[in-house]
Every structure is written in structure tokens, then in C-alpha cells.
């Protein structure tokens, strides 16, 4: 079992169950308990995992004075770039070229390592021809090679003529080396066909149709079929005879509209016997009939693939993670969504990434804005929550009296069940005002194994985060003014007192929490321990209050309107303290 470092998670106030609308899980035991304990936040409820964030993930809106988590932030994209070549992609390309790098950045389909273009040295057919100009005249080919797992694109039968614009070349090659038409070429070919006038066009179209009907079934890849279907539907919808109700029956569930009634009537009375004049009014869009119109009859006989599977080893087949990381392959005929063999995997172009600036969804102020340049990692604006709300750090406190022979407590030590343990919570104030903190924690942690929790000092003040040098200069004064600042050396003072702060510093305060871990003994008939059920987690409601002085140090007053009086602010949120694992058995 991995040792557990104490951690703190904060629940963003945006995901209060009230704001989420319906009390959905009224029947589940967790919410019933929550009702009993007056809406104590249960960190073990499955939904809690979706609203808890470490402090580092949270931002803060200065104008709304509110924490903003990744769920309650409006994002805008500053830059699109390829993570491999760091080339910035204009946003207009994204729609047309897709979400992957269209240069020569590829990932290995086997191990996701980066691929590099390497020239393949063809073995000289004539060994005694060692003329110096040979290298220049020889037509060399290139392949993509993974430097990590040594995979090469020659394994799937793909070689390139040029070392650059690999993406465009790859789009024209099928696995195994056969070439394919890209969408653009297909369009041009079609245009060519339609431009040829008169009978020639008809004949050519017929020939093409015939050709595609014979060989088309196998050749038709997803992209082609989609394009054919699109063309077919467009022509049908544009057909004046087809009337206006091409897809209308998609929206027609009832039989109320006259057009659907007439069509249904036509279905039953119609057919070949019907009066052709009446049929002309039918006007329903017809179906695709040929492969050119997108109709594809699959080859249901997969015995060749089965025998290929039979011949191949387990490791010749692509694992599901490998298949998942493949980009959707438009160039292959239907494989029903999945490449099966390693030989059918293709190099995956890198997914593009974005730099995003973030806004508060309520007041639209920017709360995070990165530098536009791809290479820099700096931010122009970044209002992280850590510089607005106090951070909480957890340390195990070893009292010489209670814990026997004062062995230093190691972090990640297992907690002894039913034995009181003390933890030191240190709250650190990041802002330039003094904070008033109020803590609330349930006496028993929610869940199957309730541990007893006592916060010994639930209410305290933290001094402002003043300048470090001020503090250093004032240090002597404070000492003399009798603030209860404890020193580590004075052993006699190590005594836990209720209602007293344990230790206090310039901008931090430590308090003690006493915990009696529950016993994890399972009774007869109880279910086994769930994952992480042995971790002692305390839900704690933190409420902080502070007053903002206007005029002087306007650290937190972005919008200083009322100049004279002090403005009182407060912020309240749930957080979860993970203290440690309880010993089992």
C-alpha cells in the first residue's frame, strides 16, 4: 500500500448540490445521511470526486471574490500549436485540416514515441558500382522510425518519396503501399466527369458506376462513402421533383401532416399498380441505389481476416490502447471502428494543443491569460486561488505524553485504530489583510467507518501577509507583546489546550485537530473495503472573513468604490483533509 501524504482538496462553491438542480440520488444511502447531518459534505460520495480540486487547480475572480474551478470558467483560445514542432496553427486551418499537426510530426502507433523521418538505404544492387556520384543520383526513399521502440513505417508497407510534408503523402497511401484518392482528387475527378458534355458524360458515368459497383465495395472507404452520401442527399434535396420533404419525416412523429399521410397512403396503395400521375406527387426522396450514391454492401465473409488472425501471434494484434490512440482513419474501408492488427495501425499525427485564456463566466473578467507566443510558458494574468485563500498544510503531531516514547511520527505512517492522534493544521494567509477563520467539521466523518474528529480551536485570526522585512524588524516587539507564539525548544509548553492556538507566526496559525480513527473491522455480512475507504478524510467547512481597507494598500480592492469605510468580505467553502491511512485488521 502506497504511503499517503496528507492532502487538501477544496470543493468549488459552484458545485453545491443546490445549484446542480435536482436531488437526484434520493434513494442512495449517502444522501440520506447527508440530510440527517444537515448537509455535511461527504467526500466519499461518488459525485464529490467531480467537484474537489487541489488548491493549485483553482483560480480566483477578483471582482466576484469567488473561487473559480475548471468547471465554472469560460475559456477562450489564444493559440493553437503542435506540441511536437511548436508550430503555431492558424485557427482557420483547424476547421479544414482537422485537429492534428499537418506537418511531419507523428507519434509511433506502438509506443506513442515521436517518429522521425529517416532515409532508407536501399542495398546497392551492383556492389562494384562505388562511383562518388552514386549517392546523388540514387533515388532514395524515406520512412518514419520510432527511436524508442524501433518501429518503422516500412513494417506497414509505407515509404515516402520526399522527406517533407509527410502528412500529405501519408494521406495518399494505404497501409501496404497502395495509393488512394484524397477527397480533393475525388472531387476534381467528379467535376471532370460532369464537365464532359453530352453522351460522353453519360457513358463515362455509367462506366464509372459500373466500375465502382464491381470494385467499389472494397475500395470505398469511410470518407468516400460519406462524400458520396452527402452528394446524393444534396442532389435529392435540390431535385425540384423531390418536393420539400426530403428529411421531413425525421421530424414527423405523428401522422398529422398531410404530406406524411399522403406518403403513407401511397405506400399502401402505391407500388407499380398506381397511377403514375399520382406517383409524381409523392415526391419523397428516394434511396441511394448505387455505390456512387453511398450505398455500400459489406463483405460479410471475414474468413480471410480470421485466418490472418489465426496465423498471427497475440502480440501481432493491436491492443485497445493502441487502437484508441489512433486517429479516426478515413482512408480505410470499414473495419467497424477498429484496426485489429499491428499492420493496420498508422502513424498518428500529433494532436494540436491550445493555450487558453480564462474568464470569469459571471463578470467576464479575465482571470488567466497566457503569453501568446508558443515557446513561452509565462502568463500575463493569472489569478491563482492560492494567493487569495489560505493554504492548509497538515502535519502529524507527536505529543510526548500521549504517544509513548516520543518516536517521531513519520508522514504516511498508518493510523492506529481507536487511538487518538493529533494533527497540526497550519493555515497560511496569502493576502495583505488579517483573516478571521471559522472552521466547522462534523464530529464524526461520514461513511461506513466514522472516525471522531475534534477541532480544538475552530475560530482564530491570522495576521496579514505583511512584508517579510517588516516582520523581521518587528520580531522583537512581538515577542515581548506576549503573543502566544510557541517555540519548538520549550518542551513544557507542549500541551493541547482546547480553544487555544497551537502556534502562530507572521502570517500563519497552527491549530490542533484530535482524531480517533475508526476501526476498520468488518462485521459479518459487510462488504469488503472499497478503494481508499481506509483513508481518513475529514470534511471541513472553512469560512474566512476579512475587511478590506480602501485607499491605502488596495491589494484586494480592484474595484474601490466606497473609499471611506471598510468593506467586509467573506468566503466559505468545503474542503477535504486527507490525514492518513488507518491500519487494517
Amino acid at each position: 500500500m502506497a504511503p499517503l501524504n496528507p492532502y487538501t482538496y477544496i470543493q468549488c462553491p459552484c458545485s453545491d448540490s443546490a445549484s446542480l438542480g435536482r436531488p437526484s440520488d434520493a434513494t442512495s444511502p449517502t444522501s440520506a445521511e447527508a440530510d440527517d447531518e444537515d448537509n455535511t459534505f461527504d467526500p466519499r460520495a461518488p459525485r464529490a470526486n467531480f467537484s474537489l480540486y487541489p488548491l493549485e487547480y483553482l483560480l480566483y475572480c477578483e471582482d466576484c471574490h469567488q473561487i473559480r474551478c475548471p468547471r465554472c470558467i469560460a475559456e477562450e483560445i489564444a493559440t493553437y500549436f503542435c506540441p511536437s514542432c511548436l508550430f503555431e496553427v492558424p485557427s482557420s486551418n483547424l476547421k479544414s485540416e482537422g485537429n492534428r499537426c499537418t506537418r511531419s510530426c507523428f507519434q509511433c502507433p506502438i509506443c506513442i514515441g515521436p517518429l522521425s523521418v529517416t532515409s532508407i538505404e536501399t542495398p546497392p544492387s551492383d556492389p562494384n558500382l562505388l562511383a562518388p556520384d552514386r549517392a546523388a543520383t540514387q533515388h532514395s526513399t524515406y520512412s518514419l522510425i520510432c527511436s524508442y521502440c524501433n518501429w518503422s513505417s516500412t513494417e506497414i508497407g509505407i515509404q515516402f518519396d520526399k522527406p517533407n510534408s509527410i502528412h500529405a503523402q501519408l494521406a495518399k497511401i494505404r497501409n501496404g503501399g497502395a495509393s488512394r484518392l484524397t477527397a480533393k482528387e475525388r472531387k476534381e475527378r467528379r467535376k471532370e466527369l460532369s464537365h464532359r458534355g453530352g453522351e460522353a458524360a453519360v457513358a463515362a458515368a455509367a462506366a464509372a458506376a459500373a466500375a465502382s459497383e464491381t470494385s467499389g465495395g472494397q475500395d470505398m472507404d469511410l470518407e468516400t462513402q460519406f462524400a458520396n452520401l452527402k452528394l446524393f442527399y444534396n442532389s435529392q434535396l435540390a431535385d425540384p421533383n423531390a418536393g420539400d420533404n426530403g428529411f421531413s419525416s425525421l421530424g414527423d412523429l405523428g401522422f398529422s401532416s398531410p404530406s406524411s399521410l399522403s406518403r403513407i397512403m401511397n405506400l399502401y396503395t402505391g407500388g407499380k399498380l398506381h397511377d403514375p400521375r399520382a406517383k409524381s406527387k409523392l415526391g419523397a426522396m428516394r434511396e441511394a441505389i448505387t455505390a456512387d450514391e453511398g450505398l455500400l454492401e459489406p463483405d460479410l465473409d471475414e474468413s480471410s481476416l480470421i485466418s490472418q488472425l489465426h496465423r498471427s501471434d497475440f502480440l501481432d494484434t493491436a491492443s485497445s490502447t493502441q487502437v484508441c490512440s489512433q486517429p479516426p482513419n478515413l482512408g480505410e474501408p470499414h473495419l467497424h471502428g477498429a484496426a485489429r492488427f499491428n499492420s493496420s495501425l498508422r502513424p498518428a499525427p500529433y494532436l494540436l494543443r491550445t493555450k487558453r485564456s480564462k474568464r470569469c463566466p459571471v463578470c467576464r473578467h479575465i482571470i488567466s491569460k497566457p503569453e501568446a507566443k508558443v515557446q513561452t510558458t509565462r502568463f500575463r494574468i493569472r489569478l491563482v486561488a492560492g494567493s487569495y485563500i489560505p493554504s492548509i498544510s497538515i502535519r502529524r503531531l507527536n505529543l510526548p505524553g500521549s504517544n509513548g516514547p516520543g518516536a517521531p511520527a513519520i508522514l504516511g505512517d498508518l493510523l492506529e485504530p481507536l487511538k487518538p492522534v493529533h494533527f497540526l493544521l497550519t493555515f497560511k494567509n496569502p493576502i495583505f489583510e488579517s483573516l478571521k477563520v471559522t472552521l466547522g467539521a462534523p464530529a464524526k466523518t461520514p461513511g461506513r467507518f466514522p472516525s471522531k474528529v475534534t477541532v480544538l480551536c475552530p475560530q482564530f485570526d491570522i495576521d496579514a501577509n505583511t512584508d517579510v522585512w517588516d516582520e523581521a524588524l518587528k520580531d522583537n516587539d512581538r515577542e515581548s507583546s506576549g503573543r502566544s507564539r510557541r517555540r519548538a525548544g520549550t518542551e513544557s509548553q507542549f500541551q493541547v489546550e482546547v480553544g487555544k492556538i497551537w502556534e502562530r507566526g507572521r502570517n500563519w496559525v497552527s491549530i490542533v485537530v484530535e482524531v480517533v480513527p475508526a476501526s476498520l473491522k468488518l462485521e459479518q455480512g459487510q462488504d469488503l473495503l472499497k478503494e481508499d475507504e481506509d483513508v481518513l478524510e475529514i470534511p471541513m467547512f472553512v469560512r474566512i472573513e476579512w475587511e478590506v481597507e480602501n485607499g491605502g494598500d488596495d491589494a484586494t480592492t480592484g474595484s474601490g468604490r466606497d473609499k471611506d469605510q471598510k468593506e467586509k468580505r467573506e468566503l466559505a467553502y468545503w474542503c477535504v483533509l486527507g490525514l492518513g491511512r488507518i491500519k487494517q485488521g
Partner: protein
């Protein structure tokens, strides 16, 4: 940290250009807005044009979202395939910042066992979005899962900002209303699309195949659903639990049986706890997708057999031939490395054994027909019965437009096998729902059979199929039709009218499978062609009324409710006054 903060603060105190723009856009002062529930703030967010030059186009982009039990697919309308696919995995259920899955320790063999939780199907549950059993479902959790997967898809694959966009949602038509409501809640409150349109999966598939009627055989994860679509309407649905989940469980059974530790155990006692798993779901799922195959159907039986007791006979026959055909091949073994069992090992399986899971999952042909419950019919029988339930004309259309889809359609040989067995069933039984000894006797007895009976009887045992009859009939019709045409052909106006029309007959009455580009791509086509979806839900209406605000589909005048999906086609004033429906999902 404080340096960063103070820098930002300094920036905040001076009126920066971006702030002033923001203030123009939203006249509300920040101080009096309660920010606690940004999602539900009634003020519509301005579809702003900050920063990105693509802002004008953003309104035109329609997002197509397909939700399945195990994955979510998303992309833009008009694209041939989705840009991103996100699978629902247990790691999505973890907290943000919990990187446990990346640690090397999580890959160790027994770690997945500690995840063992209560309840049924704990083994595969975290890999699924929903279970259709609404009684135990945590709807909020479903909404959260959808939201997180969607966010991942939007950030990783779509690369779009969070400006509101219209969405089209492709959903299985059997989705219970509470689930649909949870999904819509999540979409509307978190991503704020102005409208969400709903499309049913079978209809999108039908459009994606280029036909108007079809029989969709969706070999899905949770169950296999067979839907007949006639003229873009779903007319009949039948389902069976024989789906992907069962396949993976059967694969586990097979692998566990061959584990060395279990083989030893088997010598001791044979009783085995069904709820106990020796291997992780991930590994079994992986092996099921990689190695499991399906024995082919014998397309041409040498001798016609009697319909009675067919399945057992058939199975025997098949194994004989398979053994004869590949007697040397059958000896081949497949080595499969297993890592999630107690001690990592490599097991050797005979090649034939790898066809067992699919055999047991989809066919179970060693049992008689009467031993199956309604929810677990073998697939060929299910397809046959759902065809049988259809009216004659619909059946003729549907049987020649069979579309196989779903994850299990990629099990090698499965589609061909189902198709072949259904054809054989039709050949043997015709379109007679009555089976059994009594019916056979009745057919055999010339005194008892009436006029109709004689026709059926002749079609049954002799193998003269009704489809071929239908073809004959059509040909007869065709002849007559031609004759009729020759008499009427003089009218030039008709000629004019007929020119644009297609006179080619529709294929019907024979078994034929066709390929669809897929539900997502079908929906992409529909949205691209600006067809009106079954139901379009406006954000305000949903947030105000929820599912209760929907009116029954029959009560809505479709002509007035219809909206175009095209840019500018959405007339807000009229749309707001209209009532809206939930389509097939709001029927009851």
C-alpha cells in the same frame, strides 16, 4: 506566488482594454452579481467576439455528440467522422490531481482487486456511463460523468473555446427519460448551448446508410437492440442481453478456466463463485477485442434438414466441418500473456477455444429455443422474430436493408454468421410464426390445411422461400406495369414529370446487408443538410421547465414547430412560443 498575485493585482487596478470591452458587453457591475451559481444565472451570456478571429463562424458550428454506454464521440456537423472519442474509464471517476493511474504501482497485478466495490457488476461498472435501471442510478453522477468526458473531448480533440454552440445529441432510443433529463441538465447548465437537438440512433444510422428503411442490428455493449426503421420512423424494437458485456464476461470465464491456479483448483472442487473475478476487466476487454472470433456459418448446407431440432443439429454439423477443414490448424495454440492475475503468466489456448466466448454469448446454440427467456434470445432468432413481427411490406423493405453496427460488430465473422443463420431460419420456416410439432403435423396433413396453409407448407420444407416468391411477384408486377406504361406513355407531361424521377425499383424482399457510415456520421449528415430533428430543446425552456415542459409529440403541430438547423434559420420569436417535444423519448 505573491509576486504573481500582486502583478495581477496591479493589472487589475488600471482600466485595461480587455476589461473595458468586457464592461461594455456586460453592463452589470461585478459587485452586485452573486457569483455563486454562474451556471444558472438567468442572464444569457453574450456570445462575445473576443480575441479569436473565428468568432463569427462559431455560431455556425454545430456540435454533434453521440453518447453510448461506454464512449462519447464528438465532432463538427459536416465532418465524415468524429474528431474525438472519449471512453468512460475508472480514471475519470478520480479527483482532479489524483495521478495514481500514472504511477507504476497501479499497473501491478492485484491492484484492481482492491477496487472491488459492492453491488452487481462492479467489475465493469466504472467503464460504463449508465445502466438503464433507473431505480439505482445516481443521475447526478451520470451528469457529472458526461460533463467531464465532454470537457475532455472539447479540450483535447475539439480545441474550441467555451462559447455557446448548438448541439445535436445522438442517443439510443431506448434511453429512459430520467437519464435523458440528467444528460440534458448537465449539458444545459454546464456548457450552455442555446439549443440541443435530439436524434435517435437508429434513424441516424439509417440516414448514414443512404436508405429510408432499415433493420438496425446494434450489437452494443449493454445489450443488442434490433430496431426496424421504416421511412425514418422506428416501428419496432426488440432487445437481448447478449451484448459486449456478456462477451467480455465469457472471455473472462474462458481465460480463468485456463489459468494454471484454477486448473489445479478444479481438480479439488468444481464449484465456482460466479461473482469472483480472477482477471481485471481491462485485460479481458483487451483480449476480447483482440483475439475473439466467431465461427463462420455454413452457407450451403449439403442436405436440407428438417426444421425441428435445428440448432443442435446445426452446431454438430459445423464443428465437424470446421474440424475437417482445419484439422491441422485446430491443433494450433495461441499464447496469451496475462498480467492481472495473481502471478503473471502466459497461458496457451487452443485456437478453437477463442471462438467459444462469442459462440456462448451470441448464439448458445446447444440449447433449444424454448429454453431461452425473452430477454436473452440468441441473436439470429431475435432478428428473425423481429422481422416476423413486422407487417409484410415493412418486412420486405427491412430485410434487404440490414445494418450491423455497435462495438461487437467488429468481432470477426459475427456479422456473417448472424446474417447466414437468419437467412437459414427464413429458408426453413418461411414467415410463419407458428412452430412445433402440432404445426408440422398440420402442414403434413393435407386434409387439415386450408388454402393459405398449403402455400406456407410448400414454402417451408421444400426451401422455396417466401422472399423468392416476393421477387417473383414483383417481377410479375413489373411485367404488368410495363404493359400499363405502354398504353399510357403518350402523355408528354408525364414524360416531363418522370424525367427527374427514379424508375428503378426498390430492392426489397431479399436478404441484404448494407453498410452505414455510422450513427455519428449519419447525424453529421442530417445536421449538415439542415434537416429538422425530432426535437429541439431551447436552453431557457429546459432550465425553466425541465422535462415536464415537453409536450407530447402528437400534440405538437410539426409544421409550425419545425425549425431549420441552418444558420439564421432559427427564428427565436416563433420558436419560443412553440411547444417542444422530447421526440421518441417523451412518448410515454
Amino acid at each position: 506566488m505573491s509576486g504573481l498575485g500582486s502583478g495581477a493585482v496591479a493589472a487589475g487596478s488600471t482600466p485595461l482594454p480587455h476589461r473595458s470591452v468586457a464592461n461594455i458587453r456586460s453592463p452589470h457591475t461585478s459587485s452586485n452579481v452573486n457569483p455563486s451559481t454562474p451556471a444558472s444565472s438567468s442572464r444569457p451570456l453574450p456570445s462575445s467576439s473576443f480575441g479569436s478571429p473565428s468568432s463569427l463562424r462559431a455560431d455556425e458550428d454545430i456540435l454533434i455528440l453521440e453518447l453510448g454506454t461506454r464512449k462519447l464521440q464528438i465532432g463538427f456537423a459536416g465532418d465524415a467522422c468524429p474528431r474525438g472519442t472519449v471512453w468512460f474509464t475508472p480514471s475519470q471517476l478520480r479527483r482532479v490531481g489524483d495521478f495514481r493511474d500514472w504511477s507504476s504501482e497501479s499497473k501491478t497485478n492485484v491492484d484492481w482487486k482492491t477496487k472491488k466495490v459492492t453491488g452487481e457488476r462492479w467489475w465493469s461498472r466504472d467503464h460504463e456511463l449508465w445502466e438503464y435501471d433507473v431505480r439505482e442510478a445516481d443521475l447526478g453522477l451520470i451528469g457529472d460523468k458526461v460533463e467531464r468526458a465532454l470537457r475532455e473531448a472539447l479540450t483535447r480533440y475539439m480545441l474550441i473555446d467555451s462559447r455557446p454552440r448548438r448541439m445535436v445529441c445522438v442517443l439510443p432510443s431506448g434511453l429512459p427519460l430520467p437519464m435523458l433529463s440528467a444528460v440534458l441538465d448537465s449539458l444545459f447548465s454546464r456548457l450552455q448551448p442555446p439549443t440541443v437537438s435530439l436524434l435517435s440512433l437508429p434513424v441516424a444510422l439509417t440516414v448514414g446508410a443512404g436508405v429510408r428503411s432499415s433493420l438496425i442490428v446494434d450489437l452494443g455493449w449493454r445489450e443488442t437492440v434490433i430496431t426496424s426503421v421504416c421511412e425514418f420512423r422506428e416501428v419496432n424494437t426488440s432487445r437481448s442481453v447478449r451484448g459486449g458485456r456478456l462477451l467480455v464476461e465469457q472471455t473472462h470465464k474462458l481465460l480463468a478456466k485456463h489459468l494454471p491456479e484454477n486448473q489445479k483448483k478444479k481438480a479439488d472442487n468444481t464449484s465456482d463463485n460466479a461473482e469472483d473475478y480472477d482477471l481485471s476487466f481491462e485485460e479481458c476487454n483487451d483480449i476480447a477485442t483482440r483475439m475473439v472470433w466467431c465461427k463462420p456459418h455454413l452457407s450451403s448446407p449439403a442436405a436440407p434438414k428438417s426444421g425441428k431440432g435445428l440448432p443442435t443439429l446445426h452446431e454438430q454439423d459445423e464443428s465437424d466441418v470446421a474440424a475437417a477443414g482445419s484439422s491441422t490448424e485446430a491443433l494450433k495454440t495461441v499464447r496469451i500473456p496475462l498480467r492481472s492475475c495473481r502471478s503473471p503468466t502466459t497461458i496457451e489456448l487452443p485456437w478453437e477455444a477463442l471462438a467459444e466466448p462469442s459462440e456462448n454469448t451470441f448464439f448458445d446454440s446447444q440449447y433449444t429455443e424454448s429454453s431461452f427467456d425473452d430477454h436473452e434470445l440468441p441473436l439470429p432468432l431475435l432478428v428473425y422474430r423481429s422481422l416476423l413481427h413486422l407487417p409484410l411490406d415493412v418486412r420486405a423493405l427491412c430485410m434487404s436493408r440490414i445494418i450491423f453496427t455497435g462495438g461487437c460488430a467488429s468481432v470477426l465473422g459475427l456479422r456473417g454468421r448472424i446474417f447466414g443463420e437468419v437467412s437459414k431460419l427464413i429458408e426453413e420456416r418461411g414467415w410463419d410464426g407458428v412452430q412445433g410439432k402440432g404445426a408440422d403435423q398440420m402442414r403434413a396433413n393435407p386434409k387439415l390445411r386450408g388454402k393459405k396453409g398449403s402455400r406456407q407448407a410448400s414454402s417451408g420444407p421444400k426451401g422455396v422461400t417466401s422472399p423468392s416468391e416476393a421477387v417473383e411477384n414483383r417481377e410479375q408486377d413489373g411485367v404488368w406495369h410495363d404493359a400499363a406504361n405502354t398504353t399510357h406513355d403518350v402523355c408528354p407531361v408525364e414524360e416531363q414529370l418522370k424525367r427527374g424521377q427514379d424508375t428503378r425499383p426498390r430492392v426489397q424482399g431479399r436478404m441484404r446487408a448494407i453498410e452505414s457510415v455510422g450513427a455519428w456520421s449519419g447525424a453529421s449528415l442530417i445536421a449538415h443538410l439542415k434537416a429538422a430533428p425530432v426535437s429541439t430543446i431551447e436552453r431557457e425552456a429546459w432550465l425553466q421547465y425541465g422535462a415536464a415542459g415537453a409536450s407530447k409529440p402528437s400534440e405538437v403541430d410539426q409544421k409550425s414547430a419545425r425549425q431549420s438547423l441552418g444558420p439564421g434559420g432559427l427564428i427565436r420569436g416563433s420558436a419560443a412560443s412553440n411547444s417542444w417535444t422530447l421526440g421518441v423519448w417523451g412518448m410515454n
